[in-house]
Symmetry: C2
Subunit: 409 residues, 2 copies
């Protein structure tokens, strides 16, 4: 059984091109930071993971990696124990991020070692294809200081938003549409939603102000949102604010902000703060922890969908395996994939058909590293010049008077 | 990957000798009924399971077994789907029992096929040895119509109870003591507990009236139980009755009666009906479902221990693997093992040391079938003359006026 033990774990920070997408926290910088995790077994099977690339995660992974040597790739309990030793007591955000980064690579290594797909190891495929949504952003035409607009151009009006949706849906075939909000005046953003409704009469719509609205603002806007959206994502910050909005509407509230860790589940459920959890294996502690979260959603009658940050193909493959093995995925998953032009897996980006992805073929996650692209994106990281995502600073390069506020409206 | 597919599943009903143990429902019959499940893969690896042997489970397993052919032993979602097709809508008790019976055999087959222990496949061993408790019963000296007392003799007084405990602890080394109650007058049963406290000053004590007391009775008895027991198991029936008792005491209430299925968790937790769940993979739907239950207990701050029915070594091995891989096992597990003289695994019964079991050596569950014993116990089943456990009928063979009542006191 020794061949399932980890011989070495490697972490490679990368930076990939990201468009100037807007959200309540500011604007995406020219590069998104990410970490690529390789877990190599004694039998020289390599399992892959992809996660956050900010300083604290990279530092944590650097402390964790040497402790993985000798651990079996099945030993998730051992991974949690090892991770606890490199995280300060009470840093409840970092611990599951470190575990989630490594855990996916351990599942991939187990799958590649045993000839099994990760979705099979997670309990078996329940859907042939995993549906994703069109993730719309308001955006600037170009990054500050750039010479020309990107291909998407500036999107700050309902008309431009509909155009963005049309392009994305033509390219990928998504059925549901999610609008990142909390940037413009809420009335203007809802006007954007209403324009989308006219242009795409059948599309399930969602709006995500990222906690950018006060609870009273959200409640005042409810009449315009009812019969328009399938769920309302994080209109306002905090379990109490969310509960106040949820109590005022039949629209399910969804969250990836106020229930982001197991300890938020009991109070969130007791207060009825939301009816849909947007899970994310990157911060919930990996695929097994996300499967447990899915089960909790099933038991407590909560809806379940999937959150995403800017990511590449290893994350997308992991999300797809997880979703394929999750019986109670009740909404199409989010993905930033359409916004990314770089890729780190061989063969290039996974291809959506009619808004859906098939589980990649082959054992494990079914993807392998493109090492020349990994090196190129690692050089980007070394050269691009920042170690932490800072959307607020980037926003001020466009709008100098802008400052962070949550809620803003 | 075809070698992980199931070629055939076999179910063998067995009956093994069981002493005349008393509980709120009556008296154990001379034979306990059980089913032995064999899942054989296309590569001719055999995975083992053990579960209930009553008519409804056997009939359900007979309907389910042919549907397993072609299923991968990793495909727990597929197992649930197949089981749903052979269970009437709304039979929420039978479905997880069928799944639990087969699921353990699938884990065993996966482990034996890949050279991994079940505790490793469940997420990794977190404890070297699994602690069990001394499970004390009031009992008759012999079954109705038998010629002579069994070696334990009659136990209906505090003195005999202490003697039973002494024998069991001398033989097995258990540290904690559980008393099955709900039979005698509650004052007499608590006198038994008090005698145990005197004889075993350090032993954590528990009492399980199996819902035999009214909530008011239980509340009246609390002053005698406080500072005496580590938890009070199912003093009274139902979530509301339990909540009333729990609200009146700092003693944690435990249950394997009012929270026995996922749908009981939300109301049970919301009402604070108990603080400890006694899990049982046989009726929770197997090892993966029990792992999820354990996680729910961790997230909601509930204690966790393990329930048992009369069982043989395959069940005990499965319980031990599960407990070994469960970080938040907060109390010693229950087992009926000391009461059983028959065995169905090669090498005879697993051996407790200082009240604990090591995870059996070898891949999968680490146990194999003793086929001659299986045949002998199957002949018992064919010859012993009943198809359903009926403790009440058995009780009336001893105490003709006895009738079932829950609560009784």
């Amino acid at each position: 059984m020794s061949d399932l033990r980890i011989a070495e774990a490697r972490i490679t920070p990368i930076a990939f091109a990201d468009p100037p997408l807007l959200n309540n926290a500011g604007c995406h910088q020219p590069y998104a930071l990410r970490s690529i995790i390789e877990v190599e077994t004694e039998a020289r099977v390599i399992g892959l993971g992809e996660s956050y690339g900010g300083r604290s995660v990279l530092d944590g992974l650097a402390r964790l990696a040497p402790l993985l040597t000798g651990l079996k790739v099945t030993d998730l309990n051992g991974l949690w124990s090892a991770a606890r030793t490199v995280v300060s007591e009470g840093d409840s955000a970092l611990l599951p991020r470190l575990v989630g980064a490594v855990e996916v690579a351990m599942w991939d290594a187990l799958g590649k070692s045993t000839g099994q797909r990760v979705c099979d190891l997670l309990g078996g495929q329940v859907r042939q294809r995993v549906p994703y949504s069109a993730y719309l952003f308001y955006k600037f035409g170009r990054h500050a200081g750039a010479d020309a607009d990107d291909s998407w151009g500036e999107v700050l009006t309902p008309e431009a938003l509909v155009e963005e949706a049309r392009t994305m849906i033509n390219l990928y075939g998504f059925k549901a549409i999610k609008l990142k909000a909390g940037i413009l005046d809420p009335e203007a953003e809802i006007a954007g939603l209403e324009a989308l409704r006219v242009a795409f009469p059948q599309a399930p719509l969602r709006i995500d102000p990222n906690g950018g609205w006060r609870a009273e603002t959200a409640i005042k806007l409810l009449p315009r949102l009812e019969n328009l959206i399938e769920y309302l994502e994080d209109p306002t910050p905090g379990l109490d604010g969310m509960a106040a909005v949820q109590a005022a509407t039949g629209i399910p509230l969804a969250t990836n902000m106020c229930i982001i860790s197991p300890e938020h589940l009991p109070p969130g459920i007791a207060r009825d703060s939301c009816r849909v959890i947007l899970s994310d294996h990157h911060y919930w502690g990996g695929l097994a922890a996300s499967r447990e979260l899915a089960r909790i959603c099933a038991v407590w009658g909560l809806g379940l969908s999937m959150h995403s940050n800017s990511h590449l193909g290893i994350s997308l493959a992991a999300m797809t395996h997880l979703a394929a093995a999750t019986p109670n995925l009740t909404y199409d998953c989010d993905t930033h994939s359409p916004w990314q032009t770089d890729e780190v897996i061989e063969g290039g980006k996974l291809v959506f058909k009619e808004g859906e992805l098939e589980v990649p073929d082959g054992p494990g996650l079914g993807v392998t590293l493109d090492r020349s692209e990994l090196q190129r994106l690692h050089r980007n990281y070394l050269e691009h010049g920042y170690e932490q995502r800072d959307d607020a600073a980037e926003m001020r390069r466009h709008w100098p008077d802008w400052s962070f506020a949550r809620p803003r409206f």
